[in-house]
Subunit: 406 residues, 2 copies
């Protein structure tokens, strides 16, 4: 068993890096706060006698030797970056529970056949740099390292510059650290486990995700003198588009979701009819065909609004992540570990994207979920109990032992 009390105190301790008055964390990837929590993580890993390395995208790998060093390590972990209005558990739980697995094995003097590795993936959240789960995607070969290094945040800073700024542009090539299998513990970020009174979610896969960048180009004009019918108001066009996106998601209920998470008027002024608006769209569903249908419907809505309001709407898909099935053998190992520990459990599909979804494209991978209060995540109010976190860490530990000693 993992030491749930020690795990809980590391969660509280590291929450201070970027901690907010409302009890959440604002620790955008590659920010100074992210740099400080990385330093803390490296020191804690080294204190646990792990060998830490950093790759060219800043991902941290901490290795614990096994008896059979010819085997690839069984890896686990998640991410330490957060949303601007992030909570204390999203990603953090998976990395710190991974550290706790190492510490508990050390305490119990347990050696495994395969080596073990805990990983902190760079930029899982995708809030500062798109897409989300960037470094694990590069690890899995979905993007080249150079393509990722060149991505820019809203201020124009590249990933390369941001890595350099906090000293986390590692020397190792992305993918140089080999991994045999990947297990990720995470809060559910949805309401199902809590509603059904289950402690463990045995995650069978992740739904598909599409991200779009949109720009609406109307015409700036005077708020006092321009008659309503002559306006080409970019914000009104966005308003219609946002409501259309909601309707399109509801048309594929209950599974589909669509979100306009960013929307900004260029050169906003109280007495100027908005001429240009930039926005983003996040669309998800567990079925590939539903993603296709939703994309077509969004483009159709954009074209209709643009024609009627006499303005331009450009809607460009910048990312598509297909629905991911997890590895049946690892899913079964998680299920058995949870059963062995006596935890109420159920099979579940992840609504959020996770690094494990990218790893699954390269190595056997799966995930363990624990409940979070009211299904709330990406919010400072995000909350999980100490006992559920401990239960998740126990299942992670038992799963890892099964995989490493198999």
């Amino acid at each position: 068993r993992a030491d749930g009390t020690r795990l809980w105190s590391t969660i509280l301790e590291t929450a201070a890096f970027g901690g907010t008055p409302a009890g959440g964390i604002n620790r955008l990837t590659l920010s100074p706060e992210d740099g400080r929590v990385r330093d803390w993580f490296r020191d804690a890993c080294e204190a646990a006698e792990l060998t830490v390395s950093v790759d060219a995208l800043g991902t941290q790998y901490a290795l614990r030797p096994g008896r059979d060093m010819s085997r690839k390590p069984i890896a686990f972990g998640s991410h330490l970056d957060t949303q601007p209005t992030g909570g204390k558990f999203d990603g953090v739980l998976g990395v710190l529970a991974g550290l706790e697995v190492m510490r508990s094995l050390n305490d119990a003097n347990i050696e495994t056949e395969a080596p073990l590795m805990v990983v902190n993936w760079t930029n899982e959240e995708g809030s500062r740099f798109a897409p989300a789960m960037m470094a694990s995607a590069a690890y899995a070969g979905e993007f080249t390292t150079d393509a990722i290094l060149a991505k820019r945040d809203a201020a124009g800073t590249t990933v390369a510059e941001a890595l350099d700024a906090i000293g986390y542009r590692g020397g190792e090539a992305v993918g140089a650290q080999e991994i045999g299998a990947f297990v990720e513990l995470h809060i559910e970020q949805g309401p199902i486990l809590e509603a059904e009174g289950k402690t463990i979610g045995v995650v069978e896969g992740g739904q598909g995700i599409m991200w779009f960048d949109g720009v609406i180009t109307g015409f700036e004009s005077h708020a006092g003198t321009t008659p309503m019918p002559r306006r080409r108001d970019a914000l009104l066009a966005l308003s219609e588009f946002a409501l259309a996106a909601e309707r399109i998601a509801l048309a594929h209920a209950p599974s589909a979701v669509a979100t306009i998470g960013e929307a900004a008027i260029l050169a906003p002024s109280r007495n100027v009819v908005p001429g240009r608006v930039a926005f983003t769209v996040d669309v998800r569903d567990p079925r590939s065909e539903t993603l296709d249908a939703m994309e077509a419907a969004l483009q159709e809505a954009a074209a209709e609004i643009a024609a009627r309001r006499k303005l331009e709407i450009a809607l460009n898909r910048i990312w598509r992540k297909e629905p991911v099935p997890f590895d049946a053998a690892i899913v079964a190992a998680i299920d058995q570990a949870a059963e062995g520990l006596g935890h109420a459990r159920r099979r579940i599909i992840s609504g959020a994207g996770h690094d494990a979804c990218n790893l699954a494209g390269k190595v056997p991978a799966a995930m363990i979920f624990v409940p979070c209060k009211d299904g709330i995540s990406h919010n400072e109010a995000e909350s999980a109990t100490q006992s559920d976190c401990a239960a998740g860490a126990d299942v992670l530990l038992q799963t890892v032992l099964r995989l490493a000693n198999a």
Copy 2:
């Protein structure tokens, strides 16, 4: 007659202060660019032997003596600040035509009975600090100087700090410079004169204006895991409110207008359902009762959306400017001056707010409009012809002579 060629060249010369690649001007009030154009204006006035003073809100007054110094000066002018996407004529024409009136009278060695004064009012646009026409409102006694000095821009800078930063916090009390009457030349900023082939608009009054600050408080949640019906999406609520505001304005067609000019998501992120949105509303109509009805309808729409979407919408009116009738005698003087010069003209109501609308609360005031291309204003494409600008300056000169020698 005024020298239309010289006027045109000063318009082009000063357009360099804050000039944009697209041929417009971005010269927000009390910005460094505004400081530079003020210095230019002071120097030009002093070269024309005017006595320049600056009041505690930065307004510049340039006096030309009259034969009867016991009379209050006949004042004219406008503003040199612009919108972020401003053009070369809005405000600028009125100030530079005022300077041209002084220069032309000097050239012709004409002395007037009453003294004359050209004024550059601080923050007419209202884009950086609300409300618009701030300094002329303080001059007319609608606000105290201290209340205005304490207003803040989006970055938290006060008017007092911004004045100090460009060295334009003058020693003179607001209102210390007495004015006998005020005449303002301006581009129409609407399409009527151009459409009807008139050169001069004889402005009989200005419509009423209300400004609101709004905040929508929903709940941040995960874009991938939060089912559509559980969301409390602040941006979707804003979208419905913006479309409701459009419908409310159209219900009072053709006169009423409503505009959401600013709208910003707090802590925006692609994969976070927006939890908080701040926005502004600008509402106008020539009739007071229509303003009342629109305000009630907007509050009703906000309450309905808030209740249905289970979030909070706060909509606070921060400014109301009643419809303003201009002084009949000055309106008649403008009409006669335009007739004497042989210009096609018509009576008109101003859709935009102007410093003259504030002055009208204290002294006899009225305005002269000239056409602008396609009615476009608050846009870098704003355009007026050299001959229309010259015609406006001529009417201004003749009107001022009538008033000063009466």
